[in-house]
Structures are given as structure tokens and as C-alpha cells.
């Protein structure tokens, strides 16, 4: 059965600048999201967006300081969390939403999926959620055959985990001992369906991986340092040729499935508890302050710097032109 990942972590195990970096990256993701929602309200971006607010720690915890540019990711369809943590320039992601030529797709437009930055290992994503399960065993097989230690990380929601390809993927990854790290962002809901309503598991999704002989665990995804620890171990295993790992990160989304979703199928008290007591940024900030790693002012400075960076990125994205209509005929064939 999947274990519940626990570990005593002392802040002093980390360098101060790394702790601030984790904070900064999480704030960047959140502010990116908030400003994107603002752009939607201003009518500049379509509402086809699944906010990633409330789960920033899953991405920063699993990417920042762990994955290199040459490591591959297939990001989740929720938020732009992983793309940002992997270093895709913010102006390029905004450009994809705004449909200007600044976007990674040079004006074709992309949003929650289809932004890509191969130079940073961001290989795009499927609009059919969960189809990345198949693709990721290919990127991992490729790394292995080419004799590199590149790791492929596959993000997905609990809902996507119900897709059949997960099982084909786990079977291949286990069988060929592929360097894949599966990271399930289990936020308990797939649109309106609860995890319990749509999954046959012993207890956890990660138990499925156990059945394939793949090391697996369940972790509090909203604890950025716990995520760091568990993912470092998984990535190390992958690099050493010891095969795949399945991590189920428990988290919760602060907003509805899409912008405009009434989100009334969630118990208000539960949602409030996650927002007030288990917000990954709030909790981490509290920890930093309580342990006197920095002052409130230090963090406010970070917030301001990030805010400035976001505004600058939006400006670049907005100022770039829309593509010529014949853009749609470019790039079909190599």
C-alpha cells in the first residue's frame, strides 16, 4: 500500500536564499493567476481557464531547484503553476492567453494547455486530459535509450487519473524501469465529481501504482518542503536508473473548475479551512516568520518585486501584435 510520506524537516536544512526562492516562486504563480483572472474580467482573455490558486506548493516543491532545463515535464491543466516553476517566461505565457505573437505559439494562442518551451523541457500538453500518460513513457524511454539521466515528470489531476492510459503508462514505466515521476494533484474534485464518486481504490490513488510494483506515496502537497523532499528522492531514483515513482499530492483548489463556476458543490466550511489554514503560501510564510528567517518586510519586498515583474510581463505580451490571419497556415509540417 502507498505510504503516507512524512519527514521531520528543519528550515535550517535549507539555505535561506532557497527558502526565499520557494516563497518567491509560489507568489509568482499566484499573482500570475490573479492577474490572468483580472485580464479575463477585462474581456481580454477567454474564460477557459482552470485557476491553479491553492496548489502552488505542489509545483514549486517538485520543480524549483530539483528539475533542470533538460528534464521533461507534462504540466497539469490547472493553472500555469508548473510552466512558471520550470521557468517559461511569464510574458510568453501571457502572450499565449492574449493570442499575441509574444506567446510560445507565436500568436496561435494557447491557454491552459498547448504552451510549450522545449528549451526548458516543457513539451506541451494534451487537451484530452490524461493522454500525457502515454507520451511520458515515450520521453522517458527516449532518455534511457539515448543514455542521458533526463527525468520525465508527469502532472495530472485525480480526475485524469481515471483515464485508461494511466494503466498502460504505469505498466510500461514499471516494466521498462523508466525514469518517470508521476505527480497527481489530488484536489478531491474533477469538475463537480468527488474523488470518492469516481475512483475504485483501496484507500488512495497511489495504491494503484503499488499494484504495478512502483514505489508510491501520499503527501501533503500544500507543504512545499515536504514536496521538495519526496520529489528529490523520486528524481534521484529515476536518475540512478531505479525506475518510476508515483506521488499523490493532496491539495485543494480555491476557485471553481473554470472561471464562472459557481463552485457551490463544495462544502463552504471545507473550502474555508483550506483557504485559511492550509494555504501553501500563508503556511510557508508563517513558518519563515516564526522561525525568524526573514521579516514581514523582506517578504513584502519579494511580493512587490514579483508584482512588478508580472506587470512588465503583461506589458510585453499586450504590446506584441496579433498575428496575421495566415498564421494559421504556418508550422503544420516540419
Amino acid at each position: 500500500m502507498a505510504e503516507i510520506y512524512q519527514k521531520e524537516i528543519k528550515l535550517s536544512d535549507y539555505r535561506k536564499e532557497d527558502l526565499i526562492k520557494f516563497y518567491r516562486e509560489m507568489v509568482k504563480i499566484r499573482k500570475f493567476d490573479e492577474h490572468l483572472i483580472r485580464l479575463m474580467h477585462e474581456g481580454k482573455v477567454s474564460g477557459f481557464y482552470h485557476s491553479g490558486i491553492g496548489s502552488e506548493s505542489v509545483s514549486v516543491g517538485s520543480i524549483t531547484n530539483i528539475l533542470r532545463d533538460e528534464d521533461y515535464i507534462f504540466y497539469n491543466h490547472r493553472g500555469c503553476n508548473q510552466k512558471i516553476a520550470k521557468g517559461v517566461p511569464l510574458s510568453k505565457i501571457y502572450g499565449d492567453f492574449l493570442g499575441t505573437v509574444e506567446g510560445t505559439t507565436r500568436g496561435l494562442g494557447a491557454g491552459i494547455v498547448h504552451s510549450a518551451d522545449p528549451s526548458r523541457g516543457v513539451l506541451g500538453q494534451c487537451g484530452t486530459i490524461g493522454s500525457q500518460f502515454n507520451i511520458v513513457v515515450g520521453t522517458a524511454y527516449s532518455a534511457k535509450l539515448r543514455g542521458t539521466d533526463q527525468v520525465s515528470v508527469c502532472y495530472f489531476g485525480d480526475g485524469a487519473a481515471s483515464r485508461e492510459p494511466l494503466h498502460g503508462s504505469l505498466n510500461w514505466a514499471g516494466l521498462y524501469k523508466l525514469p518517470v515521476v508521476y505527480i497527481c494533484e489530488n484536489n478531491g474534485y474533477a469538475i463537480s465529481s468527488t474523488f470518492e464518486e469516481t475512483h475504485s481504490v483501496r484507500e488512495h490513488l497511489a495504491d494503484w501504482a503499488w499494484g504495478y510494483g512502483i514505489p508510491s506515496c501520499v503527501v501533503d502537497g500544500n507543504d512545499v518542503l515536504l514536496m521538495q523532499e519526496v520529489v528529490k528522492e523520486a528524481v534521484e531514483r529515476a536518475k540512478l536508473g531505479e525506475g518510476p515513482t508515483f506521488i499523490e499530492a493532496q491539495t485543494f483548489r480555491h476557485r471553481g473548475h473554470f472561471e464562472g463556476d459557481a463552485y457551490d458543490y463544495v462544502d463552504k466550511a471545507v473550502l474555508n479551512d483550506w483557504k485559511e489554514n492550509r494555504d501553501p503560501i500563508k503556511s510557508f510564510k508563517k513558518k519563515l516568520l516564526e522561525n525568524q528567517y526573514c521579516t514581514e518586510n523582506d517578504l513584502l519586498n519579494v511580493d512587490e518585486e514579483v508584482e512588478y515583474e508580472i506587470h512588465a510581463a503583461i506589458k510585453v505580451a499586450e504590446n506584441a501584435p496579433l498575428p496575421e490571419p495566415n498564421r494559421i497556415f504556418e508550422g503544420l509540417y516540419a
Partner: protein, 331 residues
């Protein structure tokens, strides 16, 4: 083939194996996989000897998981490999439909043209030996509707070899359809290395009275019919498009303008077969060059019966072709 070209006579199966071996020797980033393609050599014996030659990393058996086979091929392709996956039967493309229809041809485009998808997916197709409704189909025309994918469907050993080598070297996804009844068919293949471009039709027989456009096994049926018709003084031109995407309409239209009469023959069902698209394009571009309505022969629009007795009636026949050509000449 010009007279100077030295040829050998081999089967299409041997021609395909030669193409695979040559390309895998040429490019170490090629990797071949599918169900039972390793030591066993494939259920159609198309990958015999490859495992021994290239080892178990580059030639490997997969679990029975078509979606994963094609999805993994995409993942390999965008990270520096040149995968050549096989599905045991072309019909199983339905299992990997998302991967083929939504991914292979679109991945590059929808991510802004930043990646290349050099996948050659081999798909054995066709009515052969009482295999029934889910092991006999010819689903190639479905993918004429999926931009970004190339579709090859050879009819001779020489074409199969030249097209497959090109497909493997191409940096786009190619669906490579092989008619199972052609595997054992012999033909002349150049001794020297050669490539056949995608998107170049081949005039298999020159004629003046009627244009017959046919694919795969039906090229041979059409050629047989043409020889019979010649005895009555009717000269049919037989054109094999060889690839449905890109589709060489120039060669087809040139012939149509010459003969003014068109018959399109294929094994997939008549409705929505490749003939529908070819006919539409002829009508758009050369309607007033026609002396008679465009005719099509496909298999009937019903599932293929398992019965080895009944299945023969699905296949367009020489007699059907002769009949329709004579009808066309009455206009």
C-alpha cells in the same frame, strides 16, 4: 524503372524488411516496437531478424496497449528518437484514435511549430483470410481528415520500400498502410538505394480512354481489368496515388483531362472512402473535361463478414471494374 536500373525480384514483405534494416542501420535514433515484433518477428513476419540485428533496446515487444504504443512514439519523437511503431492490425488504430487523430499531426502545430514528430506508424490492413469485421478494414481515409498526418498506401514491393524509407526519414508523422494480401506479392525492386517522395502518384499503366485511380491491392485488380479491356480495344490509364496525404492531384487531373472518364477503386467502404475526396476535387477542378459522371467502387457500407466465403464479395472485383468502365464509355 528505366532499363539501366538493376533490379531484383522480391516480395513486398522482403522489400519492407529491407527498408527497415537500411534505415535502422543508417540512423541510430530509429527505434521499432509493437506487439510481438521482437524475437518473434511480428505476426506478419515483417520484423524478422531486426531484434537480432539491432538488439532489444531498439527493437522491443510492447504490452498490448495500442494507445500507449502510439502515445509513447510521440514522446520519443519529440525528444530525439525516430520511432517506427507497429499496430498488429490497422483496425486497432481505433484504440489509439486520440493519439493518431488528436496528437500525431497536431502536436507540432498546436505548440507553435516548436517540435518535430518523426513517427512512422505501420498499419497492416485489408480483407485477408476470414479475419472478420475488426481485423480486415482499411481505415486510411479517416485520416485524410486529420491535418498534419501523411498517409502512405503502397501497392508494389518497390513502392513500399521507397516510400517507407522516405517516411522514416520524414520529420512528420506518417501512417504507413500495408495491405496484408500484398505481403507475399513479388515485384522488381532496384538493387541500388532509392527513395520515393511522398505526394507523387505513379501511372501504373498508360491509357487514353479512361482513368482508373486505385490504391493498394486494387491497383492490381485494376491492372488486370485494364489488360482484359485492352482486348476489346479499350485503353485504361491506371493511377496509384501511393500517398493519400499529400495527394498528387496534378497527376490525377492531367490524366482526367486526357481521358475525360474516371473510375476510382478502393477497398474501404464507398461512403467516405478516399474516392469521395478525389472525386470531389476532380469535380471542382475538371468538371468540364469530363464526358461521363465520376464513378466509384468501394466495399459495401456494411461491416466485413467473418465468413471467408462472403468476404470476397466485399473486395472490388475485376468484373465490376470492367462493367463500370464499359458503362463510362457509353456516354
Amino acid at each position: 524503372m528505366g532499363t539501366a536500373v538493376k533490379v531484383k525480384t522480391i516480395t513486398m514483405r522482403e522489400a519492407i524488411i529491407e527498408a527497415l534494416v537500411e534505415e535502422m542501420e543508417r540512423d541510430p535514433s530509429t527505434v521499432l516496437f509493437g506487439e510481438d515484433v521482437g524475437k518473434f518477428g511480428g505476426i506478419n513476419a515483417i520484423t524478422k531478424g531486426l531484434y537480432e540485428k539491432f538488439g532489444g533496446q531498439r527493437v522491443f515487444d510492447t504490452p498490448i496497449a495500442e494507445t500507449t504504443i502510439v502515445g509513447a512514439a510521440l514522446g520519443m519523437a519529440i525528444t530525439g528518437l525516430r520511432p517506427i511503431p507497429e499496430l498488429q492490425f490497422g483496425d486497432f488504430v481505433g484504440i489509439a484514435f486520440d493519439e493518431v487523430f488528436n496528437k500525431l499531426g497536431k502536436w507540432r502545430y498546436m505548440h507553435g511549430g516548436q517540435m518535430e514528430v518523426p513517427v512512422t506508424l505501420r498499419l497492416p490492413v485489408g480483407i485477408a483470410g476470414g479475419a472478420g469485421p475488426e481485423h480486415s478494414q482499411s481505415p486510411q481515409a479517416l485520416f485524410m481528415h486529420a491535418p498534419g498526418i501523411h498517409i502512405a498506401i503502397p501497392s508494389t514491393p518497390a513502392d513500399a520500400k521507397g516510400l517507407l524509407k522516405t517516411a522514416i526519414r520524414d520529420n512528420n508523422a506518417v501512417l504507413f498502410f500495408e495491405h496484408k494480401l500484398l505481403y507475399g506479392m513479388k515485384g522488381d525492386v532496384p538493387e541500388e538505394e532509392y527513395l520515393i517522395p511522398l505526394g507523387k502518384a505513379d501511372v501504373k499503366r498508360v491509357g487514353t480512354d479512361v482513368t482508373i485511380i486505385a490504391t493498394a491491392l486494387q491497383v492490381h485488380t485494376a491492372l488486370n481489368a485494364a489488360n482484359t479491356l485492352a482486348k476489346d480495344g479499350i485503353e485504361a490509364e491506371v493511377i496509384d496515388p501511393r500517398t493519400l496525404a499529400p495527394l498528387d492531384m496534378d497527376t490525377i487531373l492531367a490524366s482526367v483531362r486526357k481521358t475525360g472518364r474516371v473510375l476510382i477503386v478502393h477497398e474501404e467502404p464507398k461512403t467516405g472512402g478516399c474516392g469521395a475526396e478525389i472525386a470531389a476535387q476532380i469535380a471542382e477542378k475538371a468538371l468540364f473535361d469530363l464526358h461521363a459522371p465520376i464513378k466509384r467502387i468501394g466495399s459495401p457500407d456494411v461491416p466485413i463478414a467473418q465468413s471467408i466465403y462472403l468476404e470476397q464479395f466485399y473486395r472490388p472485383s475485376e468484373n465490376q471494374i470492367i462493367e463500370v468502365v464499359k458503362e463510362l464509355l457509353e456516354y
